[in-house]
Symmetry: C2
Subunit: 198 residues, 2 copies
Amino acid sequence: MFSPKFDELVQALRTLPSVGPKSAQRMALNLVMKNKIQAEILANALHNAVNSIRSCQKCHSLTEQDVCDICLSIERDDGLMCVVESPADVMAIEQTGSFRGKYYVLGGHLSPLDGIGPDDIGIPALMARLRQGTVQEVILATNATVEGQATAHYLLEACKHLPVKLTRIAQGVPQGGELEYVDSHTLGQAMHHRLQFK
Amino acid sequence: MFSPKFDELVQALRTLPSVGPKSAQRMALNLVMKNKIQAEILANALHNAVNSIRSCQKCHSLTEQDVCDICLSIERDDGLMCVVESPADVMAIEQTGSFRGKYYVLGGHLSPLDGIGPDDIGIPALMARLRQGTVQEVILATNATVEGQATAHYLLEACKHLPVKLTRIAQGVPQGGELEYVDSHTLGQAMHHRLQFK
Ligand SMILES: [Zn+2]
Ligand SMILES: [Zn+2]
């Protein structure tokens, strides 16, 4: 509208989740007119973040190190592992303050129609880790969607012969809901009232 | 949460208008996990925009040049001037496609309690321009808020002795509404049915 660079900024802002054309224009105007310093801070933060943040080698959550702070923590229970679909779920569970174990991030869920099988979501590496014997309980905290449930059930089958307790977060997560959108209290309750699978 | 640079990105995203803590986290995750290239594009767009976009010397809208494309256009009517509070209003009116004149952006409205008087919103320069005699009609398109109305009335008084027609956008703008949030059709109607003041 005002200039090519303004339009480029609007287009770039539109790639953010749930930002429509009107919001993108409003953001661009606000940044250009009132928040030039904030705009530079945001530009630098974006640049730094995408160049420093990577996958934790152990749990596949996000970190700036090789292994994340949660994996490295000696204050958290190595015997308790929460398996989730994405780093967004780690964030959501951490914000409940109700979990003091470790995580394993699958990076997705089983989806045979899309050709996504166990190997694509790190299940062999998870199984190898469970076979080491440190983990006593695995909390299956995949989403309560059809795919999340199927993934949990696949893991239940895969762990049948391992000496680990398997639980599934249960109470409170609404049917069809995705963890990262559930409020902290409900999710905390779901962690607390998890049902034992095996 | 995941790392200092992730938190910095979340904080920077929160400075965008109507982005709360949850949205900022979602945006940051999305950028870091799925849209690294888009994140760099956004970072560059922000940097370029704040460093290139400035105020048009003639109308005070936004431009990358000294004088904006609308002011320079020979296809637009120099005799018709629309006075608005901000570049966001220029954008909103341009999007109606119902105006082919020029603009003058005040950059605010009169607000005696905040110490904002005529000099602070470029009214002397506007008067000087009107005295040159090119402009035949001034459309007062300040917001339909108390301050916007007061600013329009101040301009009406100030132009009393000048040989220009003064109109005020009227029909369709809801009471207390701000132009940049009004839908295009309503705003187009308001431009079309403007009432003559003088
Ligand atoms: Zn980790
Ligand atoms: Zn201009």
